[in-house]
Amino acid sequence: MKLKPVEASLSSDFAEAIKKASGENIYICFQCKKCTVGCPLMFAMDMTPTQIIHAIRQGVDIARIMDGVKIIAQQRGIKPPVISVPAFYNAALTNVKIFGRMYELGLIADLKRRTGEFTKDMGMGIKMFSKGKLKIIPHYSARARRIFNRVKQLERNKP
């Protein structure tokens, strides 16, 4: 995959937003690029950790920063280049909120609805089903829904 050059320089507002979303201070990075060179998924990235952070490992937790950046992108409504990944996150969380536990068949159906990829992995799905690896009847618990709602409430009340 071709990497895009990062055009804008890192604004301190953005660094602050990352700090808020992930708890990580990216200013202590000295840009050795080890996080990016060592990542097995570099070939699949449109932007590498170094491009995003210009930050590195003085105890900086890269994975948490990447989570923080994803959360900010979602809050700001930025359209992702690969829609299937956030579609999967949303489908999975909706599923857990409703059932309390992951209901795989429901998740797969919802993911297909969101991405429009109706035939993807059909053969594998049928094989897994025939091996009894996909539960037909979901578990049901309202416990997760209560937590989801309280978390949303707490986050809304945050300054």
Binding site: V96, R101, K133, R146, I147, R150
Partner: protein, 289 residues
């Protein structure tokens, strides 16, 4: 011994073999596993990628349920659940404010008294090691070396997991060694399989797992042992696709390390769910040549 047991969603569905074999091995060892009443999903990747507070509150609720039932230890076989529960416990210990917020989100506050264990840690406890060595009768399996695949989540990030040597872990090898199964040195112990990209960015998974199969074949592994439902899904269910794409013929059985333990402890194969895999596991059971 009685211990709380958090199976997580996968062990009730796509990873039923892991649950069946872990429970059978514990049964053999006289370990009683108790699932907390009405446990819920830990939130896994979708939660920590989208909402930090939620990603901590969901695991802590499960710890609280175990605590309420009087347990001070909980065993968590799924590497992803294990990592999320450990991360949540680590973070509430680091930040009082976060712990307070989490407690506001739960039905009742958590008192923070439950220790999180992986089955590998449980099986390495001295008393259990003694039983494992006594009970082991590996037979032909003693001639069939396997490659232990740890993946990412069991060992990383090290400051949270504090599980094993994070670049070259050995504890799964030690557990299998204690029941007489030989294991191999190889370079892909902690390589990434693509994890949650399985359903969305499948090409990434195909690319990453091919390297793992190639290395396992090079060192002569008769099977790959795993401790993670996602690693298993990617290596087992996608193996045929990898073979097709790279015109290769690996045919490497992917077993949960607890299935291998079960075989070496003389537990009937039918209780270990060996036929639920998509990649045939029978070559491993055939007589050594």
């Amino acid at each position: 011994m009685k211990i709380a047991y958090y199976p997580g969603c996968s062990l009730h569905s796509t990873a039923r073999e892991y649950a069946a074999s872990f429970e059978a091995v514990c049964d053999k060892l006289g370990i009683e596993l108790v699932e907390p009443d009405d446990w819920i999903c830990c939130g896994t990747t979708p939660a920590h990628s989208t909402d930090h507070l939620l990603s901590i509150a969901l695991p802590v609720e499960n710890l609280r349920l175990a605590e309420k039932m009087g347990f001070d230890r909980i065993v968590v076989p799924c590497a992803s659940c294990f990592q999320r529960l450990k991360t949540a416990a680590f973070e509430i210990n680091q930040a009082r404010k976060l712990f307070d917020d989490v407690n506001k989100a739960l039905d009742e506050p958590y008192k923070n008294t439950v220790k999180i264990l992986h089955p590998i840690e449980l099986f390495l406890e001295p008393e259990i090691q003694k039983s494992l060595k006594e009970l082991s009768k590996p037979g032909d399996l003693a001639e069939k070396p396997v490659a232990c695949y740890y993946g990412c989540l069991l060992v990383r990030p090290p400051k949270i997991m504090q599980f094993d040597a994070y670049e070259y872990p050995v504890k799964m090898d030690e557990v299998l060694g204690s029941v007489g199964i030989p294991t191999l040195d190889w370079r892909c112990k902690t390589s990434c399989c693509g994890a949650a990209f399985s359903l969305t960015e499948t090409d990434v998974v195909i690319e990453l797992t091919q390297k793992i199969f190639e290395e396992a074949r090079k060192v002569g592994a008769r099977a790959i042992a795993v401790a993670c439902p996602l690693c298993h899904a990617n290596l087992d269910t996608r193996q045929e696709e990898v073979e097709r794409k790279f015109a290769a013929n690996y045919g490497i059985p992917i077993l949960y390390f607890t299935q291998l333990m079960g075989l070496a402890l003389g537990i009937e194969a039918s209780r270990l769910d060996l036929d639920r895999h998509l990649t045939n596991t029978r070559p491993l059971l055939a007589p050594a040549c």
